[in-house]
Structures are given as structure tokens and as C-alpha cells.
């Protein structure tokens, strides 16, 4: 892979009203990996994402695969980068299929009419194509938007250059099962060579699925590295202002769920199936 298979932001500063929301932030995400942006409310994670997608005015430079995005046309960007919004109200009664198809016209897979259906299946919405978008639940709408977004950049690599999925809290209003569906999808995209950048709230899912974590605090980057490097007792306690012990089991009477344990569960089930 070439040296420029990166999403790279340098010296990003954003001022909203009088408040400086981001101060001189540097950010790098590599293709073939999932990069999560985490941090407490108001730390600037979504603003950083929006600065990099050009939705908020900012100082500094953003390069995608080595090209300055400020110098690219909307359709050039749309061909290599798709952005999932945090929430989306749609003005008119479009069907699910019509929404997902909007992603087709932007991307390079435009000729392939089967992509929207495959994308719907990938987000767990097979059979929803004819439904009205407005009649769906929040979580379902969110997955329709994700299907639209992956339709746009369906092939993770085109002509040797990676394409990018930029996701703003992709699992925010999803149940735990669909959180896995979506994160597995993101992982799979990265495994096939594409780049994934996601703003995440859930630190457990981040630990499970991210290759790189960028921890934001008060408009600056507090830490970057692998989940093991960033998600430590000390760093989390300092950034979030409350104790968040890592890899510690709670007292016995409180139930707790560890999604990470699903690999253990799979192994155990496989073992049971073999012995019976």
C-alpha cells in the first residue's frame, strides 16, 4: 500500500461562537484499520469529524489519500469517501430502497443495481426495501443511512487506493445485537483494505473493534494509540472525571455484560458441539 493511504489532519482549530472547540488538533487514520475517536461530551470528537468532512469551518489542512480535500470537488470526494450523519430527518416520503439508491449515484458502483440490496442485507434490513423510511424506528433509520453510505463506497479499494467510511456514532441508538452487526461491518470493510473512522461513545465496543483510538479532551487530543495503550485506568479516570477500571470484575451481586466475552462463548459452544 502506498504511503498516502491515510486520512490526515494537521493543525485543526475550530471556533464556534466565542468558544474554541478544537485547538490545533493533529489526527491520522490509516487505511485497512478502524480508527475510533472517543472522549467525554463536549470534548470535540464530533466537531473534529465534521471539520475533517468539511461541515464546519476550520483552520488547518485535511488530506485524504494524499490530496488536500479543500481543493477537491464534491463529486471527487464522494467517489472516495462516504459520511454517515448522526441523525437524519428526511423531508419527503422516500422508501428505504430509494434512500439507499441515493448512495449509488455518487459512487463508482453506480452501474450495479444489486448493491443497495446487498447493503441492506449487510445492515440487517433485508426485506425492508419497500418500507417507508419515515415509518421506521430511529435505530432502523440509522441502519438505512449506513446502508446508503456503504453503497456509496461499496468496494473498499478502487485502482489501488482505499476508500473511506466516516461514521458519526454509528451505533448510538442501536440494540446490542445490531451494534455488533454494524461494528462487524466496519471491521470487515477495514479488513478488505478500506479506511474507517468512527466517533464512538461505547468504550467496550471501541476496545473490541478499533485498531487505533484517539481520545479527545477539551478540544485537544489527550492520547492516541492502540486500545490497550489508550484505555487505561489512569487515562480514562483523568479524561472522563470518574473512575473507569479496566479489566476488573465488579462485586458478585451486580450483573455485568462483557461483549468481549462473545469469543469465549463461541469457543465454548464449539467445544460443546464437538463433545456431544
Amino acid at each position: 500500500m502506498s504511503m498516502t493511504a491515510q486520512l490526515e489532519a494537521r493543525g485543526i482549530s475550530v471556533t464556534l461562537g466565542r468558544r474554541q472547540v478544537l485547538q490545533d488538533v493533529d489526527f491520522t487514520a490509516n487505511a485497512s484499520s478502524v480508527t475510533a475517536i472517543v472522549g467525554p461530551n463536549g470534548s470535540g470528537k464530533t466537531t473534529l469529524l465534521r471539520a475533517m468532512t468539511g461541515e464546519v469551518a476550520h483552520r488547518g489542512q485535511v488530506c485524504l489519500n494524499g490530496h488536500d480535500v479543500a481543493k477537491m470537488q464534491p463529486w471527487q470526494l464522494a467517489a472516495i469517501r462516504a459520511v454517515q450523519p448522526q441523525s437524519s430527518i428526511i423531508a419527503f416520503p422516500f422508501t428505504v430502497f430509494e434512500i439507499v439508491r441515493l448512495g449509488l449515484s455518487a459512487g463508482l458502483s453506480a452501474a450495479d443495481n444489486t448493491v443497495p440490496m446487498q447493503a441492506l442485507e449487510a445492515v440487517g434490513l433485508a426485506g425492508f426495501a419497500g418500507r417507508m423510511y419515515q415509518d421506521l424506528s430511529g435505530g432502523e433509520q440509522q441502519r438505512v443511512q449506513l446502508a446508503r453510505v456503504i453503497t456509496q463506497v461499496w468496494e473498499p479499494i478502487v485502482d489501488g487506493t482505499p476508500r473511506w467510511l466516516i461514521l458519526d456514532e454509528p451505533v448510538a441508538s442501536l440494540d446490542i445485537g445490531h451494534q455488533f452487526t454494524v461494528m462487524d461491518l466496519a471491521r470487515g470493510y477495514a479488513a478488505r483494505g478500506g479506511g474507517v473512522v468512527a466517533v464512538m461513545h461505547d468504550l467496550n465496543l471501541t476496545a473490541m473493534f478499533a485498531d487505533e483510538v484517539v481520545l479527545m479532551e477539551a478540544g485537544r487530543v489527550a492520547a492516541t494509540g492502540t486500545p490497550a495503550e489508550v484505555l487505561t485506568d489512569e487515562t480514562l479516570a483523568r479524561t472522563y472525571g470518574c473512575p473507569v477500571p479496566v479489566n476488573t470484575t465488579p462485586p458478585a451481586q451486580i450483573p455485568f455484560l462483557l461483549p468481549q466475552a462473545r469469543s469465549t462463548l463461541k469457543a465454548r459452544n464449539a467445544l460443546a458441539a464437538r463433545s456431544s
Binding site: P74, A82, V83, P85, A91, F92, L102
Partner: protein
């Protein structure tokens, strides 16, 4: 799964046939006894048309028919484009004051046109009023968009209220101008303001044709952009749409189509809201089919309304604006009530 695109294409064919039928009916309906069939048989037999038939058909009904098609199509398409631009099914040039702005400019042109340099007056000729109305429509659309849209979000309440203010202001200014008009101009204004195709002449048709033609011709190129805008401005940008350009062209197209329509026919309301709404129910909101189908259905509906207006109190005739309001106002209220929840009203 039913693909609504296929249904929309079938509807296009159906609407084209319907328009053709209404055109024929419109040519044969009227106060005079002139008959299209007699004229056609005369022509087919190689006979000269009678003077009466020639005047009624070629100089009265045919320009009126063309005007009806132009005005109906432009009102419906500018309604659909405006609704796409504002991401709101209630945005209609008549309701939010764009027609009033265009009307003010048209009245100014009628009353104050004689103050322009003679050379310019002669150069513009009968195109002066449509051109003025275009600029009036453009100015008011821009103003409305600026007032009601912040950070890419259009507030419905602000849009409707700003529209009322804009309409009232334009109405007041128009009223002042009426005081400055002489008897001849007053007569022109009165007939114009009633909203009618009755004054249709070939001169007016030819004056409106270039502006309306241009505005309607740009509409198909807006379809993808308006579909994208339905997702929101940011999302539209991310799927590769040059959002600012789409907005600018939409505003120009709305101003052109509305302005020219208002200039030649006065205030004909509700076509712009009823037609796109019915079509969205029938085949969905995809602008690729919505815009051409709106042109066809708008023309058909206006011609039909014009026939009703001519027939119902014959030999006199009702201003067509009254007929479209009777048909359209209940639909507007219906949308308002049905969507009250979503619109935050």
C-alpha cells in the same frame, strides 16, 4: 418489490395523453359556437376557415391554450422545486409570498414602465413585465431563503410567517402603486390581478415563453440535487452534490417560472402545492419523475380549471384563481393537519 420508477414512467405517459385530451376539450369549449371539428373538417376538405372560426380558434382559444400549458406547468414545477429546496411540502410560491413579490414587480413595470428611457422601453417591449416579475420573484425567493434558513436548516414556521409578511408588504406597495396609475393602467391592473388566462394573446405567450422555457429546461438537471437535498445539506454534499450551485439554480428557476407565470396570468394559486403533493402520493418524491410529471399534471389541471371557469357562469367567466383556490386550499389544509406533528406547528 414494486419499483416506483416504473410506475412513474407509466404515469408520465398517462398524463401526456390526459393533457392531449384536455387540450382538445379546451379548444372545443367556449362561449362562442365555434367548433374545432367543423374547422378540422373544413381544413381536411381543403376549404378556407370561416373568419369567425379563424378568430375564435387561432387568436383566442389557441393562445389561451398555450398560455394555460405554460402557466400550469411553470406553477407546478416551481412549486415542486421550491418544496425540494426548502425540504418542505408546504413551500409554494403563492403561499410564501414569491408570487406577491413577482406581482409587485409586474405592477411596478406596468405603472412605472413609462419612466424608463424610451430606447429601453422599445427594446424590452412586451417582455418588460415578465422580466420585471422574474426579478421580483428572484428577490423575494432569495430574501425568504435568507430569512428562514439558518445553518442549512429551514424553519417551517419562519418560512410561512416570513411569507405572510412578504406578501403583505408586496400587497401594500402594490396598493400604493395603484394610486399612481392612470385609468388605462388601472384597467390593465384590475384584469391582471384577478388571475386569469382570459387576456392571453400571442404577444404575451411569446414574451413569457423564453423565460418559462429556460426555467423548465433547467428543472431536469436539478432532480439529483433536490433528491440529495432531501437528506439534508451536509449529506447532499457528501454524496457529491454541489449544494450551493443547486440552491442558486433552483432559486433562479423558481423565480423565472413563477415570475413569468405571474406576469402573464396574475395570481393563480395552489397549483404549485396540489400537483406535487398528489404526485408524491402516487409515485413517490423522486424528483427525476416528479418534475416532468408535475409539468404535465400542472398544465392539465390548469386547463381543466380554466374550462370550469369558462363554463360554470357562461357566457361570463370566473377568474381562474377562484377555481384553483377552491380546489387547492382544502388540500393545503389537509397537508397541514396531517403533518402538524412533523412540522412542529
Amino acid at each position: 418489490m414494486v419499483d416506483r420508477r416504473l410506475r412513474a414512467r407509466r404515469l408520465t405517459v398517462l398524463l401526456a395523453v390526459l393533457l392531449l385530451v384536455v387540450c382538445v376539450l379546451s379548444l372545443t369549449t367556449g362561449a362562442s359556437g365555434a367548433s374545432l371539428w367543423r374547422a378540422l373538417t373544413d381544413l381536411a376538405a381543403g376549404r378556407e376557415l370561416s373568419v369567425m372560426d379563424r378568430v375564435v380558434l387561432l387568436d383566442i382559444r389557441l393562445p389561451r391554450l398555450c398560455m394555460g400549458i405554460l402557466v400550469g406547468a411553470s406553477l407546478a414545477v416551481s412549486g415542486a422545486v421550491m418544496q425540494g429546496l426548502f425540504r418542505n411540502p408546504l413551500a409554494d410560491p403563492g403561499i410564501v409570498g414569491v408570487s406577491a413579490g413577482a406581482g409587485l414587480a409586474a405592477i411596478s413595470a406596468i405603472v412605472l414602465g413609462s419612466l424608463l428611457p424610451i430606447g429601453l422601453q422599445q427594446f424590452l417591449g412586451s417582455a418588460l413585465v415578465p422580466i420585471a416579475a422574474f426579478f421580483g420573484g428572484w428577490g423575494s425567493t432569495m430574501l425568504l431563503y435568507r430569512v428562514s434558513t439558518r445553518g442549512g436548516q429551514t424553519s417551517v414556521a419562519t418560512m410561512l410567517l416570513a411569507g405572510i409578511a412578504l406578501g403583505a408588504l408586496a400587497g401594500a406597495a402594490s396598493g400604493v402603486l395603484v394610486y399612481y396609475s392612470d385609468d388605462n393602467q388601472l384597467r390593465d391592473l384590475t384584469f391582471w390581478g384577478m388571475g386569469s388566462l382570459a387576456g392571453a394573446t400571442w404577444t404575451k405567450v411569446l414574451a413569457a415563453l423564453p423565460i418559462i422555457g429556460l426555467a423548465l429546461a433547467t428543472a431536469p438537471f436539478l432532480a439529483r440535487g433536490l433528491n440529495g437535498l432531501a437528506l439534508g445539506e451536509a449529506a447532499a454534499g457528501h454524496i457529491g452534490i454541489a449544494v450551493q450551485r443547486v440552491k442558486n439554480i433552483s432559486i433562479l428557476a423558481v423565480a423565472g417560472a413563477t415570475g413569468a407565470a405571474v406576469a402573464v396570468s396574475g395570481g393563480i394559486g395552489f397549483i404549485g402545492i396540489v400537483v406535487p403533493h398528489l404526485l408524491r402520493i402516487a409515485t413517490g418524491p423522486d424528483h427525476h419523475s416528479l418534475l416532468p410529471n408535475a409539468a404535465l399534471l400542472g398544465a392539465t389541471l390548469l386547463l381543466a380549471a380554466d374550462m370550469i371557469a369558462r363554463v360554470i357562469v357562461a357566457p361570463a367567466e370566473l377568474p381562474i384563481g377562484i377555481v384553483t383556490a377552491i380546489l387547492g386550499a382544502p388540500v393545503f389544509l389537509w397537508i397541514l393537519l396531517k403533518r402538524r406533528g412533523d412540522l412542529g406547528l
